[in-house]
Symmetry: D2
Subunit: 260 residues, 4 copies
C-alpha cells in the first residue's frame, strides 16, 4: 500500500497543482490513499466547504489542517459533518471537528490518521506528546497503521515528536514551514519521518504569498495585505510505503514543478 | 571555483565529522574554498579559541556564527584578532568582531562573506534587509562574489531575504534549524539559495542533543541539562559553483552519514 | 507647567471619557499641556483622520501611537500632514510620519515629545536605547524638556529605558499594557517615570474588549472578533509637573471612573 | 481575617525586606495569614531548601512559585515533602510538588491556595482557565476560600482570568512582572483582583537585577551574567480582607520602601 501525503495546499495555484499533477502522481507512484494538508487551501488561509469538496472530489481521501484551521469561519458550519476532515487533535476538549479518525484502505486494513499542532512559537494548545500517547493507547486493536501530520514551526519539536512515537506510529510528517526538508528517513523502530513535506502552490513567492508584499512587510514593518503569488506551481509531497506490523517500509520525497 | 559551505558544526561529533569527512569531500567535489558555521562547535554552544584554530587548521577557510556566537565568553578575547571568524553583521554598531570580510580565492578573485541573523522568533537586532543593502553598496568594486550565511528560524524571513538579494549576492544559504531543506535552487537573477544547509554532528539526536533529554524537556516542561548526542555522525553541506559576473552557476546539497 | 498624559484611548468609550472627563481634569489639576496615546482610538485599533481631529479638538495637544499605529490604513493618508501626531520613532528610516517633534508650551519653553516602541514580545524595530541617544543629542539647544511615551510590553525593557535616560529626559511614561502601574516616581537624576499609565476606555472589559469575547478566545483557542466593551468608563493618566533644567518635579497618577 | 500576599521575593535583599518589614506589617495590618511568591528568592532565581525554611520561619505560611520554580535543581529534592510550598498547578500531570493545597486559618475556616502560570509569552503548560474550573469543582465542601496566585506576563490573560473566576474564587493576584499595578479592586461578584502585586527586593534595579547589567544587555545584545541589585529595598504586597460566603471584602495595596 502506498500512501501519498501532499504538503500545505496554498490557494488557487495549490488547488490547480492538485488538479493538474495529482492524477499523474497517482499513476506513476501507484498511490493507494491520499492525505493532504488543506489549512491554506482557501485564498491562502483556511478552508471553505466548496473547496473541501473540490479537493475530496479530486482524489484526496483525507484533509488535515493546522494553525489556520479556523481562518474561514464557515468551517465551523461543516467541520462536524465532514468525516474526512481533521483538525489538530490537541485543541481543547469540546473543539468542533475531530483530531483523528480511522479509514479503511483498499486492502481492507485500517489506517488511523491524526493531526497535531506544535507549541513552540505557536499557540498554547494541549501537549501533543502526552495527547498522542493516549491516542495510541486508544487505537489498540482498532487500527493497523497510524499516520500523523505534525504541524509545527520548530525543528526541535518536530524531530523530538518523531522520536517520541518511533515504533508506535507508521509515519510522522511535518507541515507548516512550507519548505520541504531533506531529512526523510525510516527511524530505527520503523516510523517514517520527515521534518516538513513542503508546500503545494506557487513556487516563486514566499510560502505562497507574492514576494514583493512579504519583502515590503519585512523592510517597512508596516502591515501588508497578502495575496497569493502567481507563476510556476509546485507540488510537494511524500510517498510512504506501508510495511508489516504497522511499520513503514519506505519514505520518498516528491517535488514536481510545472510552468504555467 | 567550487565553494563548500558546511552547516552548523555541533560539538565533538561535528568536529569529528569535519576531521573524517572533509578531506574526502574536498577531493570528490573539487572544492576550492570552505566556509562553515561554527556557532555550536564547542560542546554544542559557542566557540573557543582552540576549537576555532582546530577547525581553521582542518581546511576550513572561514567560520560564520549565529545566535550562539557569545555562549562561550572567551570568544570576546579572540574574535577581534581572528580575521577568518565572522559573527552576524546586524549586531549593534560597536559589537566585537566583524560581520563580513573579503577573502582571496585560489584564482585571485575576491569573495566577500557575510553573516546575518534573522529576527523572527529571534533576538531583536538591526534589520538584515536594510543592512545588507548598505553592505552590497560598500562592496562595489571590492569583491567579485558575495556569499551570505543567513542564520534564521522562520522560512518566510529566509526566503524573503533570498529574493531581496537575488542578483546582488552570489549565494544565500540558511542555517540555524539544523535540518537540511530540499529547496536549493538558483534564483532567476543568479543567486544560489537554500533555506537551510542543515547540521554537521550526531545524526540520531534532536538538533545534535541527546534525544532522551530533549524529549524529557518537552514532556515534563522541567529544565534539562543538554548533552551532545552520540552515534552515527553526518555532514550537511552545500557545494556552490561560482559563475560569471558574481553569479552562481550551481548549488548542490551534500549529506554524508558515517556510522561510528 | 503641568503636563497631562492620557493612557491608551480605546474606541468610543475612550473618546467619551476624554469628552466628559478631560475638561474637569484640566481644571482640577491646572493642566497646561495634554498628550494622549491614541493607538486604539478608532474602534479599538488604529486612528482615523476624523478621530484624530476629534481628539485634537477636545483639548489634546499631541497624539502618540504604538504597535497599532497602522491598523487603520487611512493613517497613511494624513500622518505626514498632521504635525501633532507622532508614531514610534524607531520604525525604519523612511516610515511615514514622525517619531518626535518640538512643541511650544504656554510659558514659551520648548517641549520635545517622542514616541518609542519596545522590542521584547513585540515587532523587530530599531533599538530604542540607541535611537533615543541620538535623539537626545539632536535636541541639544532646541528643547527645554523631553517627554517620552515608551510603548512596550515587558516591564524589564520599560524600567531599563527609564534608567537609560535618567537625567536626560524629563519623563518616560510607559503605555501598551492598558493597566496602570503603581511605580510612579522621580528617578534620582530627575526623570519622571511610570511603567504604564493605563487605559482610557471601558472599565469592565479586558484591555477595553468585551470580556466574554476574550475569555472565549483564551478557553477555546478559536479566533474571535473583538468588540469594545460597554459599561463604566475610566480615564487613566499621569500629571507631570515640570521643574528646572529639564527635570520633572512631580509625577502623580490619575484614575477617574465614571458610571454610564 | 486578613490575608497578606507578598510579591516575588528577589534574592538576599528580598529576604532582608521580609525579615525587617514583615513583623511591622503583620502588626499594622492585623495580618492573620501570609502567602508569598518565592520563585526568585534564591539569588534571583529559584528556591533552595534553606531559603524555603528561612521564609517559612519568618512568618510566611505558604510559598507560591512561577516560571522560575525549577531554576535551583535541589527543589526537586524537597518539593514533595514541603506541604507549604506550591508550584503552578498547570504543569503536566506527574510534575513533582503540588499546585494547590488547603490550609486552616486561625479562625478554623479552610483556605485553599492555588498557583497558576499564564501561557502568553511564556511556556506551554496546560490551560489554566480549564484547569481552575476543575479545581473549583474539586474544592466544593472542602474549602471556604480560594486564593490564587496567577503568575503571568500579559495583562490580557491576567484580567481575563480574574473575570473567569469572578464569584468562584476569593482572590486572584497577579505576579511575575515585578511591578505593582494600581488596578486592585473587588470584582462585581466578590473576587479581589490585582494584575500584579509587584516585587519584594532591591528598589533601584531592573526587576531586582543591577540596572547597569540589564541596560548593557539591552544595548549590546550580548549575554550578561545578572546580579541582584543593591541599595534601598521595597516590599510590595496586598492585604485582602476575607468576607462572607467565600468572597473578599477588601483589597489594599502595600508598598513599603526602606533605605539601607
Ligand atoms: Fe500552511
Ligand atoms: Fe501553518
Ligand atoms: Fe546552530
Ligand atoms: Fe542558531
Ligand atoms: Fe494600546
Ligand atoms: Fe499597544
Ligand atoms: Fe518573579
Ligand atoms: Fe516569573
Amino acid at each position: 500500500m502506498n500512501l501519498l501525503f501532499i504538503g500545505d495546499i496554498v490557494g488557487k495555484p495549490g488547488r490547480k497543482a492538485v488538479e493538474e499533477l495529482l492524477p499523474q502522481v497517482r499513476k506513476s507512484y501507484a498511490v493507494d490513499f491520499v492525505i493532504a494538508n488543506a489549512e491554506n487551501a482557501a485564498g491562502g488561509n483556511g478552508l471553505t466547504r466548496d473547496i473541501a469538496h473540490e479537493l475530496l472530489g479530486r482524489g484526496i481521501d483525507v484533509l488535515t489542517m493546522g494553525n489556520h484551521t479556523w481562518d474561514k469561519r464557515e468551517i465551523l458550519d461543516f467541520i462536524d459533518s465532514e468525516p474526512k476532515l481533521l483538525r489538530p487533535a490537541n485543541y481543547p476538549v469540546g473543539t468542533p471537528g475531530r483530531g483523528s479518525a480511522i479509514f479503511t484502505l483498499p486492502n481492507g486494513k485500517h489506517l488511523a490518521v491524526a493531526n497535531y499542532c506544535g507549541r513552540i512559537f505557536m499557540n498554547p494548545l494541549e501537549c501533543p506528546f502526552q495527547h498522542v500517547g493516549r491516542l495510541i493507547e486508544s487505537l489498540r486493536g482498532k487500527a493497523d497503521y497510524l499516520f500523523i501530520d505534525f504541524h509545527a514551526e520548530a525543528t526541535s519539536e518536530k524531530i523530538a515528536f518523531g522520536w517520541h512515537v518511533n515504533g508506535r506510529a507508521t509515519a510522522v510528517v511535518g507541515t507548516h514551514t512550507h519548505v520541504q526538508t531533506a531529512d526523510e528517513r525510516i527511524l530505527p523502530a520503523g516510523t517514517a519521518y520527515i521534518s516538513d513535506v513542503g508546500m503545494t502552490g506557487p513556487r516563486d513567492g514566499v510560502l505562497g504569498v507574492k514576494k514583493e508584499l512579504v519583502l515590503n512587510k519585512f523592510i517597512t514593518q508596516l502591515p501588508v495585505r497578502f495575496e497569493t503569488a502567481t507563476g510556476p506551481i509546485q507540488m510537494n509531497a511524500v510517498l510512504i510505503t506501508l510495511g508489516l506490523q504497522g511499520k513503514a517500509e519506505k519514505i520518498e520525497r516528491i517535488n514536481i514543478i510545472k510552468e504555467v
